[in-house]
Symmetry: C2
Subunit: 297 residues, 2 copies
């Protein structure tokens, strides 16, 4: 699939999960519902609504059940949740969540800090969770965090990533997602990783979750477009960021990604002006400057 | 030259010219000299020292003569100045400037605003200036501003750019520089422009002057690396920006570019830690946050 620039790309909006999870001020459920509706009005068709996580660790996600019970579920929108363990999946099943993300980390240190499990234990658990979610009728994206490097461990060997993925695909998730959790990917590495991952996943859908920590987010998108990636996680305003990397910038910004894709003649189905307006409104609501660029020209 | 990723890249540091030209507080000549020496200590070997411009328009450049008279001229460093018209070149000749940049704009509106000349008039003048500078023994880079789009006019046809360049090369400059003055280039366009420019310039050196206005600076660097570009203008801290685009971010940041190139195994000859330290010092001196990312992790 190399060097074929796609005509269409889908964005998976994570501002409600990755974006706000580190914001100290708790956003009321009603505001989250308004934001979801606005994002859909702007044309987004994949929304990560929340993660099912212990609210002691991520207080912003404490209203997950309430939120899922209150949102309108439009037919042409994919509403997704991030799952962290079996209890988390049970909560999602209870809320009739139609689509989940199940991730493990390629870094031992990060795996222990994030899930209190070794990579090998997390891998076994992820496979069980994918199978259970599928049995419950859910769509599933299975992913590898820190697939391009780790803030604690530095470089992560590609074989470690492809090995994990070859295990995950046996459970037949609908999509494999590579996450650059620490924002360490560069486009030359992206080329190499995607080539090797493609050999493992065949024609399965591959998506990317990128952070713009070092200014390389859109360079990585550009390279990935040439290797069959058609789904990218983005966060409105570029909000988000790892709590373990002080000063780190957030996810790649939805508006900056839409702008790039539009300029390159690629359809995204999103009204950029509408999105910029909503981003600026939400920035005002949150009360700090977002890192997105095209909304601040 | 497509798809051959280079082993080595040279950065042309513009913080002293493009970087500070819009800063209201005048930086003393002695501080500029210190900064030049620090940049060289970090490994930079091409420094744009100043522009010779009417100080009424750019007060920050009023000390150009004084600065050129006072700087140490090391043998392995290329010291360059930006030239704007014949008087400007005469001033540079008077200062024994060894290398100059001579630019015209591909946009009629910008050309009139920037130089009070039509593109056609500016083209004729540029050719005369290149020849005069060469006769004076200077190295010359000739460039086209707004080669990838114009904040006033929008898209600029590639033929307009290649046509200007085919005229400039007749005067035999040492290097052709394409400037994305308005920060509007995208990597798909970069590929197309560089392919067509290459047909006009043959094996002449092509360099790029990029801004990160819309977050695409390093994506454009990555694409350009695969099309024979080995020299990039960068500004420490990412300082810089067009006075006509409110809120616009600056030039691509030297430290972010060095970081990307290092991560991809490309030699730049620059000590990244040293550069980050200097950038943070200068940021403190200027008193506002610079847009560079790797210096703020």
């Amino acid at each position: 699939m190399k060097n074929i620039i796609p005509q269409e790309v889908t964005l998976h909006e994570v501002v409600l999960r990755d974006g706000i999870q580190n914001e100290k001020n708790i956003i009321p459920t009603e505001e989250k519902i308004k934001l979801i509706n606005k994002l859909i009005d702007c044309g987004l068709r994949r929304i990560e609504v929340s993660s099912f996580v212990n609210p002691r660790f991520v207080p912003q996600m404490a209203d997950s059940e309430d939120l899922w019970n209150k949102i309108e579920r439009k037919k042409d929108v994919l509403y997704s949740a991030l799952i962290l363990g079996e209890k988390s999946l049970d909560r999602a099943i209870h809320c009739h969540v139609p689509h989940v993300g199940i991730f493990l980390s390629a870094s031992e240190t990060h795996s222990l800090k994030n899930s209190n499990r070794s990579v090998s234990e997390a891998k076994k658990e992820a496979i069980v969770l994918i199978e259970k979610a599928k049995s419950a009728g859910m769509g599933v994206r299975a992913g590898v965090m820190n697939a391009f490097g780790c803030a604690y461990e530095g470089k992560i060997p590609i074989e470690k990533v492809t090995n994990l993925i070859s295990n995950l695909v046996k459970a037949e998730p609908d999509e494999i997602c590579l996450a650059d959790t620490s924002g360490m990917a560069n486009p030359r590495q992206m080329r190499e990783v995607l080539k090797q991952v493609r050999e493992v996943v065949g024609d399965r859908t591959v998506s990317l979750h990128l952070h713009n920590t070092r200014g390389l987010g859109l360079a990585n998108v550009w390279e990935a477009l040439q290797h069959g990636v058609r789904i990218f996680d983005t966060s409105m305003g570029g909000l988000g960021g790892c709590p373990f990397i002080p000063g780190a910038r957030g996810n790649i910004a939805t508006e900056d990604t839409v702008h790039m894709l539009h300029e390159m003649g690629i359809k995204v189905g999103i009204d950029l002006n509408c999105l910029i307006n909503e981003s600026l409104c939400f920035e005002k609501f949150i009360g700090k400057e977002f890192p997105a660029m095209v909304s601040h020209l």
